[in-house]
C-alpha cells in the first residue's frame, strides 16, 4: 500500500486541527482541535512503524503513549475551562485577555 495515503490523511487532520485551534472561540472546540492534531500524530507514528517495521514496535508504543497523554491533557484542560467558566461565566477563549502588553 502506498505510504502517502495515511501520511496525507495525518497531514490533513493536523492542518484541520490548526485551523480549528486558531478560528474557534469556544474553548472546548479548541480542545477538540488539539485532539485532532494529536490523532494526526498517532496516525503518523503507526504509519512509520508500518514502514520501518522495527522489532520494538516503537511507533505503536509511542502512539499509545500519545493517546494516554492526550487524555491526561484533555482532563486538565477541561478542568481549567470549567474553572474559568465558574469565575467569569464564559467559555469564549478570546475573553481571556486580562493580561497583555
Amino acid at each position: 500500500m502506498a505510504a502517502v495515503y495515511p501520511l496525507i490523511f495525518a497531514a490533513l487532520l493536523f492542518s484541520v486541527g490548526v485551523y480549528g485551534l486558531l478560528s474557534r472561540r469556544h474553548a472546548v472546540l479548541v480542545l477538540m482541535s488539539i485532539e485532532l492534531m494529536l490523532a494526526a500524530v498517532t496516525v503518523n507514528l503507526v504509519t512509520f512503524w508500518a514502514i520501518a517495521g522495527d522489532a520494538l514496535l516503537t511507533g505503536q508504543v509511542f502512539a499509545l503513549f500519545v493517546m494516554a497523554i492526550g487524555a491526561a491533557e484533555i482532563g486538565v484542560g477541561l478542568a481549567i475551562i470549567m474553572l474559568i467558566y465558574r469565575n467569569r461565566a464564559s467559555v469564549n477563549i478570546d475573553d481571556a485577555d486580562l493580561m497583555k502588553y
Binding site: F9, E35, A63, L64, F65, A68, A72, D95
Partner: protein, 205 residues
C-alpha cells in the same frame, strides 16, 4: 488498487470530512459527534495498517472516554447547546491561510520524501505489543502511570468548586497593573458572593 488501499482511501475521506465538520460546525454538540466519526476513522486506519491493539485502544480511550468527557464539559459549562458565534478576533482568513500553508507544505514534503514508498502490511497481535511494552518500554510506561496520577490530582484540584468561588468583579481594563487579588483567608470567604448575579452572567455570556 488493492483492497486495503480502497479501505484506507474511504476511511481517509470520511475521517477528513468529519474533521473538517468538527471545526466548522456551528453547533458544538455536533462538533463533538463529528469528532467521534473522525476518531473512529483514525482507528480504521490503524486497523488497515495492522496495529490492532492501538486501534481498539483508540476506540476505547478516545471515542469511549475522551469524547464523553468533552460532552460532559460542554454540559457542565452550560454553554448554549446549539449554534454559537463562529468568529473570533482573528477572523477566518488568517487561520485559513496558516492551515493551508501547513497542509500544502506537509503534503509537498510527504510526496517528495515518501512518494514511492510502499508499505508491506503486517498484522501485529496485541500479545506482541504487550511483550515489548512491559519490557523494553517499562520505564516510560511507569512514568506515564505517575503522570496520569498527577494529571488526575491536578484536574481535581482545578475543577473542584471552592466555597465562595464565583465571578470576581471585572477589574478595570484600563488598569492592567492593578493589584492582584490577594489570597483568600478564611475570614473573607463568607463575604464573597457565592453566585454571580444574573446580570453579570448575561453580560459576560
Amino acid at each position: 488498487m488493492s483492497v486495503p488501499e480502497v479501505v484506507m482511501l474511504a476511511t481517509g475521506v470520511v475521517g477528513g470530512a468529519a474533521a473538517l465538520l468538527v471545526v466548522t460546525s456551528r453547533n458544538v454538540v455536533h462538533s463533538a459527534l463529528y469528532l467521534v466519526v473522525a476518531l473512529l476513522a483514525v482507528a480504521g486506519v490503524f486497523l488497515v495498517l495492522g496495529a490492532e491493539f492501538v486501534a481498539w485502544a483508540q476506540v476505547l480511550v478516545y471515542v469511549g472516554a475522551v469524547v464523553v468527557l468533552l460532552l460532559f464539559g460542554l454540559m457542565l459549562t452550560r454553554a448554549p447547546i446549539g449554534p454559537t458565534g463562529q468568529g473570533n478576533e482573528l477572523g477566518k482568513a488568517m487561520p485559513l491561510a496558516v492551515a493551508l500553508a501547513v497542509f500544502a507544505g506537509l503534503v509537498a514534503l510527504i510526496v517528495t520524501s515518501y512518494g514511492g514508498e510502499v508499505i508491506a502490511l503486517e498484522h501485529v497481535p496485541p500479545a506482541a505489543l504487550g511483550e515489548v511494552l512491559y519490557v523494553a518500554w517499562a520505564l516510560p510506561f511507569m512514568t506515564l502511570g505517575f503522570l496520569l496520577t498527577l494529571a488526575l490530582i491536578g484536574a481535581v484540584v482545578i475543577a473542584r468548586r471552592e466555597e465562595g468561588e464565583g465571578p470576581l468583579p471585572e477589574p478595570d481594563p484600563d488598569e492592567p497593573e492593578a493589584a492582584e487579588a490577594s489570597p483568600p483567608d478564611s475570614s473573607s470567604w463568607p463575604q464573597r458572593q457565592p453566585e454571580p448575579t444574573p446580570d453579570e452572567r448575561e453580560v459576560s455570556a
